[in-house]
Symmetry: C2
Subunit: 178 residues, 2 copies
């Protein structure tokens, strides 16, 4: 919650600035407007030998649950660089990106989840700091009831369906508020 201006340290007021249509935190002293915007979470469905790379989360939210390697995109990188970096950080795997696969808006938490399709360049993987363990799963081994996020479940369902039919589409959808 924004209560102070990050430029000058004065108090802010939540008002609609002139010419705007939405309320923003506006500094009472210097007038700086603190915009808040959705964040991109970027990850990858990465394969090795037809198996899919999954991580068990070592951090909250959803500690102990399984997910695709993914995380917040950083300033100064592209979306595909973010997917490659996150897969390396969380799963210790180096990947080649094939294509964007799914983009899922989650409006109630101000996030957009973007998943690529990719391939591991070798069989190596290892749990990073944010993972308890990492595993390559055949489709029948995917822990559907222990997945961390609905977006990950949706992405894996679409991925396996596309893989079964032999062609991959780009899937765009939104998750409803719970």
């Amino acid at each position: 919650m924004i209560q102070y201006c990050n430029h000058c340290g004065a108090n802010v007021t939540f008002i609609i600035p002139p010419g705007d249509s939405l309320p923003r935190h506006v500094c009472n002293a210097c007038g700086h407007i603190h915009y808040e915007n959705p964040r991109l979470v970027v990850g990858c469905v990465a394969e090795w030998d037809n198996r899919i790379l999954l991580c068990r989360r070592a951090i909250e939210p959803r500690h102990g649950f399984w997910t695709l390697p993914a995380g917040f995109m950083e300033n100064g990188e592209t979306t595909s660089q973010a997917a490659i970096r996150e897969t390396h950080e969380e799963a210790g795997a180096r990947i080649l990106i094939d294509a964007p696969f799914a983009m899922i808006s989650i409006a109630h938490i101000n996030q957009v989840h973007l998943f690529y399709r990719g391939r591991m360049v070798d069989a190596h993987f290892a749990a990073g700091e944010e993972s308890l363990e990492v595993r390559l799963c055949d489709p029948e081994e995917i822990p559907w009831d222990a997945l961390a996020f609905h977006s990950v479940k949706l992405c894996l369902e679409r991925y396996l369906a596309d893989r079964a039919k032999g062609t991959y589409d780009f899937h765009e959808t939104a998750l409803p508020a719970p």
Copy 2:
């Protein structure tokens, strides 16, 4: 530039927090970490009667230059809702979304530009507050030398090429730093 904590108003220091790999602005008093992440700019290539809706910008950057209706995605909305809202705000047009069309990372300005394909629901359009004028352009009328942004040029080029071949792909790319 972040100099004060927006939770408590104290000074921040730009350091790598424990367990992180990148420097962040961390509050010296309460420890709050101020993450900064890329922002999504979302817009639409909207058609009416085979012509494409373009806006001439009434604001900086690139005042007076032509662009597709697009703007920063807001918290609480989906990507397609952002495209619909921006097209209405900037061009006074109501649209139906067909599909995502192009996603362009611009790492040096910490932005991702996402353009949809869509259709106007009727012939009505009108310049919004951020537009000097709005126009429906045949391909040969597009002001290529007066376009506001490289991402818009790239998107329009790909769009016309796809339209000419009769099938639309989803295009993902990145712009190099200038």
